[in-house]
Protein backbone atom coordinates (compact mmCIF):
# COMPACT_ATOMS: atom_id res chain seq x y z
CA UNK A 1 0.00 0.00 0.00
CA UNK A 2 1.45 3.30 -1.09
CA UNK A 3 1.82 5.99 1.54
CA UNK A 4 0.31 9.05 -0.16
CA UNK A 5 0.11 12.38 1.66
CA UNK A 6 -1.40 15.73 0.79
CA UNK A 7 0.85 18.16 2.62
CA UNK A 8 2.83 21.37 2.58
CA UNK A 9 6.36 21.51 1.18
CA UNK A 10 7.75 22.18 4.63
CA UNK A 11 6.20 18.91 5.78
CA UNK A 12 7.67 17.10 2.76
CA UNK A 13 11.11 18.44 3.72
CA UNK A 14 10.61 17.36 7.33
CA UNK A 15 9.54 13.86 6.32
CA UNK A 16 12.54 13.63 4.01
CA UNK A 17 14.85 14.59 6.85
CA UNK A 18 13.32 11.97 9.14
CA UNK A 19 13.60 9.37 6.34
CA UNK A 20 17.30 10.27 6.06
CA UNK A 21 17.74 9.55 9.77
CA UNK A 22 18.04 13.12 11.02
CA UNK A 23 18.07 12.88 14.82
CA UNK A 24 19.14 16.34 15.93
CA UNK A 25 17.39 19.62 15.15
CA UNK A 26 18.24 23.02 16.59
CA UNK A 27 16.52 26.07 15.21
CA UNK A 28 14.68 29.30 15.67
CA UNK A 29 11.31 29.30 13.89
CA UNK A 30 10.87 31.90 11.17
CA UNK A 31 8.32 32.34 8.39
CA UNK A 32 8.17 30.72 5.87
CA UNK A 33 10.06 27.79 7.40
CA UNK A 34 8.31 27.56 10.78
CA UNK A 35 6.29 24.43 10.00
CA UNK A 36 9.53 22.43 9.92
CA UNK A 37 10.39 23.32 13.51
CA UNK A 38 6.76 22.95 14.55
CA UNK A 39 6.51 19.44 13.11
CA UNK A 40 9.87 18.28 14.43
CA UNK A 41 9.09 19.51 17.93
CA UNK A 42 6.41 16.82 17.90
CA UNK A 43 8.28 14.14 15.95
CA UNK A 44 11.77 14.05 17.46
CA UNK A 45 11.30 13.87 21.27
CA UNK A 46 9.06 10.75 21.24
CA UNK A 47 11.77 8.96 19.23
CA UNK A 48 14.32 9.87 21.88
CA UNK A 49 15.95 12.36 19.53
CA UNK A 50 16.85 15.97 20.09
CA UNK A 51 14.80 19.06 19.29
CA UNK A 52 16.06 22.36 20.68
CA UNK A 53 14.47 25.74 20.13
CA UNK A 54 17.51 27.99 20.37
CA UNK A 55 17.79 31.65 21.33
CA UNK A 56 18.72 32.68 17.79
CA UNK A 57 20.02 31.42 14.47
CA UNK A 58 23.72 31.78 15.30
CA UNK A 59 23.27 29.48 18.26
CA UNK A 60 21.09 27.19 16.16
CA UNK A 61 23.80 26.36 13.66
CA UNK A 62 26.43 26.19 16.41
CA UNK A 63 24.30 23.60 18.19
CA UNK A 64 23.90 21.69 14.93
CA UNK A 65 27.68 21.64 14.49
CA UNK A 66 28.09 20.27 18.00
CA UNK A 67 25.36 17.72 17.45
CA UNK A 68 26.98 16.55 14.24
CA UNK A 69 30.44 16.25 15.79
CA UNK A 70 29.04 13.95 18.44
CA UNK A 71 27.63 11.62 15.80
CA UNK A 72 24.19 12.93 14.99
CA UNK A 73 22.59 13.65 11.66
CA UNK A 74 21.85 17.28 12.34
CA UNK A 75 19.79 19.96 10.66
CA UNK A 76 18.49 23.48 11.10
CA UNK A 77 15.87 25.40 9.14
CA UNK A 78 15.47 29.10 8.62
CA UNK A 79 14.74 31.89 6.15
CA UNK A 80 16.84 34.77 4.77
CA UNK A 81 17.20 36.88 7.94
CA UNK A 82 18.18 33.82 9.96
CA UNK A 83 20.42 32.50 7.21
CA UNK A 84 22.29 35.82 7.31
CA UNK A 85 22.95 35.31 11.01
CA UNK A 86 24.16 31.76 10.40
CA UNK A 87 26.96 32.74 8.03
CA UNK A 88 29.69 32.80 10.69
CA UNK A 89 28.87 29.29 11.85
CA UNK A 90 28.42 28.15 8.25
CA UNK A 91 31.98 29.20 7.49
CA UNK A 92 33.13 27.30 10.55
CA UNK A 93 31.27 24.19 9.38
CA UNK A 94 32.92 24.47 5.96
CA UNK A 95 36.38 24.90 7.50
CA UNK A 96 35.99 22.20 10.15
CA UNK A 97 34.24 19.88 7.64
CA UNK A 98 31.09 19.28 9.63
CA UNK A 99 28.34 17.27 7.90
CA UNK A 100 25.01 19.02 8.42
CA UNK A 101 22.00 20.33 6.51
CA UNK A 102 20.83 23.94 6.53
CA UNK A 103 17.38 24.58 5.11
CA UNK A 104 16.76 28.10 3.86
CA UNK A 105 13.19 28.71 2.78
CA UNK A 106 13.56 31.87 0.74
CA UNK A 107 11.37 34.92 1.25
CA UNK A 108 11.75 38.44 -0.09
CA UNK A 109 14.83 40.34 1.10
CA UNK A 110 17.08 42.08 1.99
CA UNK A 111 16.59 42.31 5.75
CA UNK A 112 13.21 41.21 7.08
CA UNK A 113 11.86 42.00 3.60
CA UNK A 114 8.71 40.15 2.65
CA UNK A 115 8.15 37.48 5.32
CA UNK A 116 5.18 35.77 3.71
CA UNK A 117 5.93 36.10 0.01
CA UNK A 118 7.89 34.28 -2.59
CA UNK A 119 11.41 35.07 -3.76
CA UNK A 120 14.53 33.27 -4.97
CA UNK A 121 16.92 36.01 -3.93
CA UNK A 122 19.28 33.95 -1.74
CA UNK A 123 21.03 31.97 -4.47
CA UNK A 124 24.19 34.04 -4.34
CA UNK A 125 24.05 34.27 -0.56
CA UNK A 126 24.14 30.48 -0.42
CA UNK A 127 27.29 30.58 -2.52
CA UNK A 128 29.08 33.62 -1.12
CA UNK A 129 27.39 34.51 2.17
CA UNK A 130 30.49 33.51 4.09
CA UNK A 131 33.88 35.14 3.74
CA UNK A 132 36.92 33.58 2.22
CA UNK A 133 37.45 31.24 -0.70
CA UNK A 134 35.47 28.06 -0.37
CA UNK A 135 33.07 25.73 -2.15
CA UNK A 136 29.55 24.85 -1.12
CA UNK A 137 26.76 22.46 -2.09
CA UNK A 138 23.27 23.92 -2.48
CA UNK A 139 20.27 21.91 -3.69
CA UNK A 140 16.78 23.06 -4.52
CA UNK A 141 13.44 21.54 -5.55
CA UNK A 142 10.33 22.49 -7.49
CA UNK A 143 7.88 19.87 -6.25
CA UNK A 144 7.17 18.07 -3.00
CA UNK A 145 8.40 14.77 -4.42
CA UNK A 146 11.68 16.36 -5.50
CA UNK A 147 11.93 18.19 -2.20
CA UNK A 148 11.61 14.96 -0.23
CA UNK A 149 14.24 13.27 -2.41
CA UNK A 150 16.64 16.20 -2.31
CA UNK A 151 16.34 16.51 1.45
CA UNK A 152 17.52 12.90 1.71
CA UNK A 153 20.16 13.64 -0.90
CA UNK A 154 21.36 16.67 1.13
CA UNK A 155 22.07 14.43 4.13
CA UNK A 156 23.76 11.85 1.91
CA UNK A 157 26.04 14.45 0.33
CA UNK A 158 26.80 16.04 3.71
CA UNK A 159 27.98 12.69 5.06
CA UNK A 160 29.82 11.67 1.89
CA UNK A 161 31.78 14.88 1.55
CA UNK A 162 31.93 15.99 5.20
CA UNK A 163 30.42 19.34 4.45
CA UNK A 164 27.42 21.50 5.25
CA UNK A 165 24.76 21.24 2.53
CA UNK A 166 22.28 24.03 1.93
CA UNK A 167 18.76 23.16 0.88
CA UNK A 168 17.30 26.23 -0.76
CA UNK A 169 13.63 26.36 -1.68
CA UNK A 170 11.00 29.05 -1.70
CA UNK A 171 7.83 30.15 0.03
CA UNK A 172 5.53 28.83 -2.66
CA UNK A 173 6.84 25.28 -2.34
CA UNK A 174 6.97 25.65 1.46
CA UNK A 175 3.32 26.51 1.94
CA UNK A 176 1.55 24.98 -1.03
CA UNK A 177 -0.03 21.58 -0.50
CA UNK A 178 0.27 18.81 -3.06
CA UNK A 179 0.61 15.07 -3.36
CA UNK A 180 3.65 13.31 -1.95
CA UNK A 181 4.28 9.60 -2.24
CA UNK A 182 6.57 8.58 0.60
CA UNK A 183 9.25 6.23 -0.73
CA UNK A 184 9.33 2.89 1.03
CA UNK A 185 12.15 2.13 3.44
CA UNK A 186 15.33 1.45 1.51
CA UNK A 187 13.97 2.84 -1.76
CA UNK A 188 16.35 5.78 -1.48
CA UNK A 189 19.75 4.55 -0.24
CA UNK A 190 21.08 6.36 2.83
CA UNK A 191 24.71 7.28 3.36
CA UNK A 192 25.79 6.67 6.92
CA UNK A 193 28.77 8.33 8.50
CA UNK A 194 32.20 6.98 7.67
CA UNK A 195 33.68 6.19 11.08
CA UNK A 196 37.36 5.76 11.78
CA UNK A 197 38.70 2.27 12.32
CA UNK A 198 41.46 3.65 14.56
CA UNK A 199 41.06 1.99 17.98
CA UNK A 200 40.89 3.87 21.27
CA UNK A 201 44.30 5.05 22.55
CA UNK A 202 45.75 4.92 19.05
CA UNK A 203 46.46 8.25 17.35
CA UNK A 204 43.46 9.39 15.29
CA UNK A 205 44.14 12.14 12.77
CA UNK A 206 40.75 13.78 12.13
CA UNK A 207 41.87 15.71 9.06
CA UNK A 208 43.90 13.06 7.31
CA UNK A 209 42.00 12.22 4.15
CA UNK A 210 41.88 8.72 2.72
CA UNK A 211 42.99 8.13 -0.87
CA UNK A 212 39.43 8.78 -2.07
CA UNK A 213 39.40 12.15 -0.31
CA UNK A 214 36.99 11.10 2.44
CA UNK A 215 37.75 11.78 6.10
CA UNK A 216 36.64 9.14 8.61
CA UNK A 217 35.15 10.65 11.76
CA UNK A 218 35.23 9.85 15.43
CA UNK A 219 32.41 11.01 17.70
CA UNK A 220 33.67 14.02 19.61
CA UNK A 221 34.00 13.27 23.31
CA UNK A 222 34.28 9.55 22.54
CA UNK A 223 37.26 7.31 21.92
CA UNK A 224 39.64 9.97 20.67
CA UNK A 225 40.79 13.40 21.78
CA UNK A 226 41.19 15.85 18.92
CA UNK A 227 41.02 19.53 18.10
CA UNK A 228 38.39 21.29 15.99
CA UNK A 229 39.01 24.84 14.86
CA UNK A 230 38.01 27.48 12.33
CA UNK A 231 41.67 28.30 11.83
CA UNK A 232 43.70 26.66 9.08
CA UNK A 233 44.75 23.37 10.60
CA UNK A 234 46.94 20.34 10.06
CA UNK A 235 45.83 16.71 9.96
CA UNK A 236 45.62 16.68 13.76
CA UNK A 237 43.20 19.60 13.72
CA UNK A 238 45.71 21.99 15.29
CA UNK A 239 46.17 25.53 13.95
CA UNK A 240 48.86 26.08 11.37
CA UNK A 241 50.12 28.94 9.20
CA UNK A 242 52.51 26.70 7.27
CA UNK A 243 51.95 27.72 3.60
CA UNK A 244 51.82 24.13 2.41
CA UNK A 245 49.24 23.25 5.07
CA UNK A 246 47.15 26.31 4.20
CA UNK A 247 47.32 25.66 0.47
CA UNK A 248 46.66 21.97 0.95
CA UNK A 249 43.59 22.49 3.13
CA UNK A 250 42.01 25.15 0.95
CA UNK A 251 42.53 23.16 -2.23
CA UNK A 252 41.06 20.09 -0.47
CA UNK A 253 37.99 22.08 0.69
CA UNK A 254 37.36 23.43 -2.80
CA UNK A 255 38.31 20.39 -4.85
CA UNK A 256 36.21 17.92 -2.89
CA UNK A 257 33.17 19.82 -4.23
CA UNK A 258 34.19 21.73 -7.37
CA UNK A 259 36.07 18.71 -8.66
CA UNK A 260 32.98 16.51 -8.52
CA UNK A 261 30.56 18.35 -10.76
CA UNK A 262 29.25 15.14 -12.30
CA UNK A 263 28.46 13.56 -8.93
CA UNK A 264 26.95 16.69 -7.43
CA UNK A 265 24.91 18.34 -10.14
CA UNK A 266 21.35 17.15 -10.58
CA UNK A 267 19.06 18.39 -13.31
CA UNK A 268 15.79 17.40 -14.96
CA UNK A 269 14.96 17.91 -18.61
CA UNK A 270 11.54 18.34 -20.19
CA UNK A 271 10.95 18.45 -23.94
CA UNK A 272 14.55 19.45 -24.61
CA UNK A 273 15.41 16.98 -27.38
CA UNK A 274 14.37 19.07 -30.36
CA UNK A 275 13.98 22.39 -28.51
CA UNK A 276 14.82 25.61 -30.33
CA UNK A 277 14.04 27.71 -27.28
CA UNK A 278 15.34 26.57 -23.91
CA UNK A 279 14.06 27.70 -20.53
CA UNK A 280 16.34 27.21 -17.53
CA UNK A 281 14.71 27.42 -14.14
CA UNK A 282 14.61 25.95 -10.62
CA UNK A 283 12.43 25.77 -7.54
CA UNK A 284 8.84 26.94 -7.84
CA UNK A 285 9.66 29.07 -10.91
CA UNK A 286 10.40 25.84 -12.78
CA UNK A 287 6.72 24.89 -12.39
CA UNK A 288 5.69 28.01 -14.30
CA UNK A 289 8.44 27.38 -16.85
CA UNK A 290 7.29 23.78 -17.42
CA UNK A 291 3.69 24.89 -17.74
CA UNK A 292 4.83 27.44 -20.34
CA UNK A 293 6.73 24.72 -22.23
CA UNK A 294 3.66 22.47 -22.45
CA UNK A 295 1.45 25.35 -23.56
CA UNK A 296 4.00 26.21 -26.25
CA UNK A 297 4.24 22.58 -27.39
CA UNK A 298 0.45 22.53 -27.80
CA UNK A 299 0.93 25.30 -30.35
CA UNK A 300 3.76 23.48 -32.11
CA UNK A 301 6.51 25.66 -30.65
CA UNK A 302 9.71 23.75 -29.96
CA UNK A 303 10.43 24.76 -26.40
CA UNK A 304 12.10 22.80 -23.60
CA UNK A 305 13.07 23.16 -19.96
CA UNK A 306 16.29 22.42 -18.12
CA UNK A 307 15.41 22.37 -14.43
CA UNK A 308 18.32 22.74 -12.04
CA UNK A 309 18.19 20.87 -8.73
CA UNK A 310 21.79 21.63 -7.85
CA UNK A 311 22.50 25.36 -7.74
CA UNK A 312 26.02 25.03 -6.29
CA UNK A 313 28.39 23.82 -7.53
CA UNK A 314 26.85 25.37 -10.62
CA UNK A 315 26.11 22.68 -13.26
CA UNK A 316 28.43 24.33 -15.77
CA UNK A 317 28.88 21.46 -18.18
CA UNK A 318 25.20 20.52 -18.34
CA UNK A 319 24.13 24.12 -18.82
CA UNK A 320 26.81 24.83 -21.42
CA UNK A 321 25.83 21.76 -23.44
CA UNK A 322 22.09 22.48 -23.21
CA UNK A 323 22.49 26.12 -24.20
CA UNK A 324 24.78 25.29 -27.13
CA UNK A 325 22.08 23.50 -29.09
CA UNK A 326 19.30 26.11 -29.03
CA UNK A 327 18.53 29.45 -30.64
CA UNK A 328 17.87 31.26 -27.41
CA UNK A 329 17.83 30.56 -23.70
CA UNK A 330 15.58 32.23 -21.16
CA UNK A 331 16.41 31.91 -17.47
CA UNK A 332 13.25 32.01 -15.35
CA UNK A 333 13.72 33.06 -11.72
CA UNK A 334 12.34 35.34 -9.03
CA UNK A 335 15.29 37.64 -8.43
CA UNK A 336 17.39 40.12 -10.41
CA UNK A 337 19.17 37.41 -12.35
CA UNK A 338 21.41 35.43 -10.02
CA UNK A 339 21.33 32.17 -12.00
CA UNK A 340 21.00 34.18 -15.24
CA UNK A 341 24.50 35.58 -14.60
CA UNK A 342 25.86 32.06 -14.16
CA UNK A 343 24.26 30.86 -17.37
CA UNK A 344 25.70 33.84 -19.24
CA UNK A 345 29.08 33.08 -17.73
CA UNK A 346 29.18 29.53 -19.06
CA UNK A 347 27.33 30.03 -22.36
CA UNK A 348 29.46 30.31 -25.49
CA UNK A 349 27.02 32.88 -26.87
CA UNK A 350 25.97 34.88 -23.81
CA UNK A 351 24.11 37.40 -25.97
CA UNK A 352 21.55 34.65 -26.69
CA UNK A 353 20.73 34.26 -22.99
CA UNK A 354 17.81 36.27 -21.60
CA UNK A 355 16.10 36.76 -18.27
CA UNK A 356 12.39 36.39 -17.43
CA UNK A 357 12.01 37.39 -13.83
CA UNK A 358 9.75 38.75 -11.18
CA UNK A 359 10.87 40.67 -8.10
CA UNK A 360 7.63 41.90 -6.51
CA UNK A 361 6.84 39.03 -4.15
CA UNK A 362 4.33 37.58 -6.62
CA UNK A 363 4.68 34.18 -8.22
CA UNK A 364 5.97 34.32 -11.79
CA UNK A 365 3.31 33.54 -14.42
CA UNK A 366 3.41 31.98 -17.91
CA UNK A 367 2.57 35.40 -19.47
CA UNK A 368 5.63 36.87 -17.69
CA UNK A 369 7.76 34.38 -19.64
CA UNK A 370 5.85 34.77 -22.91
CA UNK A 371 6.38 38.53 -22.84
CA UNK A 372 10.14 38.07 -22.80
CA UNK A 373 9.88 35.50 -25.61
CA UNK A 374 7.90 38.01 -27.69
CA UNK A 375 10.54 40.68 -27.19
CA UNK A 376 13.28 38.24 -28.20
CA UNK A 377 11.25 37.41 -31.33
CA UNK A 378 11.04 41.12 -32.13
CA UNK A 379 7.28 41.18 -31.68
CA UNK A 380 7.06 43.61 -28.79
CA UNK A 381 4.50 43.43 -26.02
CA UNK A 382 1.22 45.21 -25.75
CA UNK A 383 1.89 47.03 -22.51
Amino acid sequence: MKDIRFIQGNEACTLGALYAGMDFFAGYPITPSSEIAEMLSGELPPRGHTFIQMEDEIASLCAVIGGSLTGRKAMTATSGPGFSLMQEALGYAVMAEIPCVIVNVMRGGPSTGLPTQVSQGDVNQARWGIHGDHAIIALTAGSHQALFENTVRAFNLAETFRTPVILLYDELIAHMRERLEIPSEGEIPLVERLMTSVPRDVDYRPYLAREDGRLPMSDFGGAHRYNVTGLYHDMWGFPSTDPSVVRGLLSHLVEKIEGRENELTFTREYETEDAETLLISYGSAARTARQTVYEARDKGIRMGLLELETLWPFPERKVRDAVAGVNETVVVEMNLGQVFEQVRRVARSPERVFLANRIDGRFITPPDIRKVLRIIAGKGVWA
Binding site: R177, F363, T365
Partner: protein, 177 residues
Protein backbone atom coordinates in the same frame (compact mmCIF):
# COMPACT_ATOMS: atom_id res chain seq x y z
CA UNK B 1 -9.15 20.41 -14.56
CA UNK B 2 -11.28 22.27 -12.06
CA UNK B 3 -10.18 25.56 -10.49
CA UNK B 4 -11.89 26.78 -7.34
CA UNK B 5 -11.35 29.79 -5.12
CA UNK B 6 -12.87 30.06 -1.64
CA UNK B 7 -12.81 33.41 0.09
CA UNK B 8 -14.04 34.75 3.40
CA UNK B 9 -12.61 36.03 6.63
CA UNK B 10 -10.31 34.28 9.08
CA UNK B 11 -12.15 31.87 11.36
CA UNK B 12 -14.79 30.81 8.82
CA UNK B 13 -12.76 27.73 7.95
CA UNK B 14 -12.47 28.21 4.22
CA UNK B 15 -8.80 27.19 4.18
CA UNK B 16 -9.71 23.97 5.98
CA UNK B 17 -12.55 23.40 3.52
CA UNK B 18 -10.12 23.84 0.63
CA UNK B 19 -7.69 21.35 2.13
CA UNK B 20 -10.44 18.78 2.76
CA UNK B 21 -11.70 19.04 -0.80
CA UNK B 22 -8.20 18.64 -2.25
CA UNK B 23 -7.43 15.78 0.15
CA UNK B 24 -10.58 13.99 -1.01
CA UNK B 25 -9.40 14.25 -4.63
CA UNK B 26 -5.83 13.14 -3.90
CA UNK B 27 -6.14 10.64 -1.05
CA UNK B 28 -9.49 9.05 -1.88
CA UNK B 29 -9.82 9.41 -5.63
CA UNK B 30 -6.16 9.08 -6.64
CA UNK B 31 -6.16 12.33 -8.56
CA UNK B 32 -3.87 15.34 -8.43
CA UNK B 33 -4.50 18.62 -6.68
CA UNK B 34 -2.80 21.68 -5.28
CA UNK B 35 -4.03 23.91 -2.49
CA UNK B 36 -2.45 27.26 -1.79
CA UNK B 37 -3.52 30.28 0.14
CA UNK B 38 -2.88 33.96 0.32
CA UNK B 39 -0.52 34.05 3.23
CA UNK B 40 -0.32 37.45 4.83
CA UNK B 41 -0.63 38.89 8.27
CA UNK B 42 -4.21 37.64 8.27
CA UNK B 43 -5.54 36.14 11.45
CA UNK B 44 -9.09 35.78 12.72
CA UNK B 45 -11.14 38.47 11.01
CA UNK B 46 -8.71 39.12 8.14
CA UNK B 47 -9.58 38.43 4.52
CA UNK B 48 -8.62 34.91 3.48
CA UNK B 49 -8.49 33.11 0.16
CA UNK B 50 -7.54 29.63 -0.90
CA UNK B 51 -6.96 28.36 -4.44
CA UNK B 52 -7.68 24.70 -5.19
CA UNK B 53 -6.91 23.01 -8.49
CA UNK B 54 -8.09 19.44 -9.07
CA UNK B 55 -6.83 17.57 -12.11
CA UNK B 56 -6.34 14.11 -13.57
CA UNK B 57 -2.66 14.87 -14.10
CA UNK B 58 0.06 16.71 -12.21
CA UNK B 59 -0.78 20.36 -11.50
CA UNK B 60 2.22 22.57 -12.24
CA UNK B 61 1.07 26.16 -11.98
CA UNK B 62 -0.84 26.35 -8.69
CA UNK B 63 -2.26 29.88 -8.83
CA UNK B 64 -5.63 30.69 -10.34
CA UNK B 65 -6.21 33.65 -12.62
CA UNK B 66 -9.71 32.57 -13.68
CA UNK B 67 -11.67 30.20 -11.47
CA UNK B 68 -14.47 27.93 -12.62
CA UNK B 69 -16.04 28.28 -9.20
CA UNK B 70 -15.79 31.11 -6.70
CA UNK B 71 -17.30 30.62 -3.24
CA UNK B 72 -17.70 33.70 -1.06
CA UNK B 73 -18.60 33.82 2.62
CA UNK B 74 -17.96 37.52 3.28
CA UNK B 75 -18.70 40.73 1.41
CA UNK B 76 -15.05 41.74 1.55
CA UNK B 77 -14.17 38.60 -0.35
CA UNK B 78 -16.69 39.55 -3.03
CA UNK B 79 -15.14 43.00 -3.41
CA UNK B 80 -11.60 41.68 -3.51
CA UNK B 81 -11.90 38.54 -5.60
CA UNK B 82 -14.92 38.69 -7.96
CA UNK B 83 -12.51 39.51 -10.78
CA UNK B 84 -10.93 36.07 -10.45
CA UNK B 85 -14.09 34.31 -11.66
CA UNK B 86 -14.05 33.38 -15.33
CA UNK B 87 -16.86 34.95 -17.39
CA UNK B 88 -20.06 33.04 -16.72
CA UNK B 89 -18.44 31.03 -13.95
CA UNK B 90 -20.24 29.66 -10.92
CA UNK B 91 -20.56 32.06 -7.99
CA UNK B 92 -21.66 30.41 -4.76
CA UNK B 93 -22.25 32.86 -1.92
CA UNK B 94 -23.97 33.26 1.38
CA UNK B 95 -27.34 34.77 0.60
CA UNK B 96 -27.45 36.86 3.79
CA UNK B 97 -23.87 38.06 4.10
CA UNK B 98 -22.97 38.74 0.49
CA UNK B 99 -24.64 41.12 -1.93
CA UNK B 100 -23.87 40.36 -5.56
CA UNK B 101 -24.51 43.28 -7.87
CA UNK B 102 -26.46 42.86 -11.11
CA UNK B 103 -23.46 43.50 -13.33
CA UNK B 104 -21.52 40.47 -12.17
CA UNK B 105 -21.27 38.00 -15.06
CA UNK B 106 -21.74 34.72 -13.24
CA UNK B 107 -24.08 31.83 -12.68
CA UNK B 108 -25.29 32.81 -9.22
CA UNK B 109 -25.96 30.28 -6.51
CA UNK B 110 -27.14 32.10 -3.35
CA UNK B 111 -27.25 29.71 -0.39
CA UNK B 112 -27.88 29.85 3.36
CA UNK B 113 -24.36 28.76 4.23
CA UNK B 114 -23.40 30.77 7.30
CA UNK B 115 -26.55 29.82 9.23
CA UNK B 116 -24.80 26.48 9.75
CA UNK B 117 -22.48 28.18 12.23
CA UNK B 118 -19.14 26.51 12.76
CA UNK B 119 -20.08 23.85 10.19
CA UNK B 120 -20.61 26.46 7.45
CA UNK B 121 -17.37 25.60 5.68
CA UNK B 122 -18.34 21.93 5.52
CA UNK B 123 -21.84 22.83 4.34
CA UNK B 124 -20.13 24.67 1.50
CA UNK B 125 -18.33 21.43 0.59
CA UNK B 126 -21.68 19.60 0.53
CA UNK B 127 -23.09 22.21 -1.82
CA UNK B 128 -20.04 21.89 -4.07
CA UNK B 129 -20.25 18.11 -4.18
CA UNK B 130 -23.96 18.12 -5.06
CA UNK B 131 -23.65 20.93 -7.56
CA UNK B 132 -20.51 19.85 -9.41
CA UNK B 133 -18.46 16.79 -10.10
CA UNK B 134 -15.58 18.26 -8.10
CA UNK B 135 -15.26 15.17 -5.95
CA UNK B 136 -17.51 12.33 -4.88
CA UNK B 137 -19.41 13.04 -1.63
CA UNK B 138 -18.24 9.69 -0.26
CA UNK B 139 -14.61 10.77 -0.71
CA UNK B 140 -15.25 13.88 1.37
CA UNK B 141 -16.99 11.80 4.06
CA UNK B 142 -13.92 9.59 4.30
CA UNK B 143 -11.68 12.61 4.77
CA UNK B 144 -14.04 13.97 7.44
CA UNK B 145 -13.78 10.61 9.16
CA UNK B 146 -9.98 10.67 9.03
CA UNK B 147 -9.85 14.16 10.46
CA UNK B 148 -12.73 14.20 12.94
CA UNK B 149 -13.60 10.57 13.72
CA UNK B 150 -17.05 8.99 14.02
CA UNK B 151 -18.76 11.53 16.18
CA UNK B 152 -18.71 14.89 14.53
CA UNK B 153 -21.23 17.59 13.69
CA UNK B 154 -19.41 17.93 10.38
CA UNK B 155 -21.36 15.03 8.80
CA UNK B 156 -24.64 16.83 9.43
CA UNK B 157 -23.20 20.06 8.10
CA UNK B 158 -22.03 18.22 5.00
CA UNK B 159 -25.38 16.50 4.42
CA UNK B 160 -27.09 19.84 4.90
CA UNK B 161 -25.06 21.18 1.99
CA UNK B 162 -25.98 18.23 -0.21
CA UNK B 163 -29.69 18.57 0.54
CA UNK B 164 -29.71 22.34 0.05
CA UNK B 165 -28.96 21.79 -3.63
CA UNK B 166 -31.96 19.51 -4.17
CA UNK B 167 -34.22 21.64 -1.93
CA UNK B 168 -33.51 24.59 -4.18
CA UNK B 169 -34.32 22.54 -7.25
CA UNK B 170 -30.80 22.86 -8.64
CA UNK B 171 -29.33 20.18 -10.86
CA UNK B 172 -25.63 19.40 -11.17
CA UNK B 173 -23.64 21.81 -13.32
CA UNK B 174 -21.02 20.88 -15.87
CA UNK B 175 -17.92 22.86 -14.91
CA UNK B 176 -14.24 22.18 -15.41
CA UNK B 177 -12.53 19.06 -16.73
Amino acid sequence: MLKLIFTGVGGQGIITAGIILAEAAVLEEGRYATQSQSYGAEARGGLTRTDIIISNREVLYPKIEQAHILAILHQRGYTAHTGTLRPGGVLIFDEEAVNVDDKTDARRIPMPILENGRGANITLLGILCALTAAVDPEAVRKILHRRYGEDSANYEAFDRGLSLVSERGLSPLLVGF
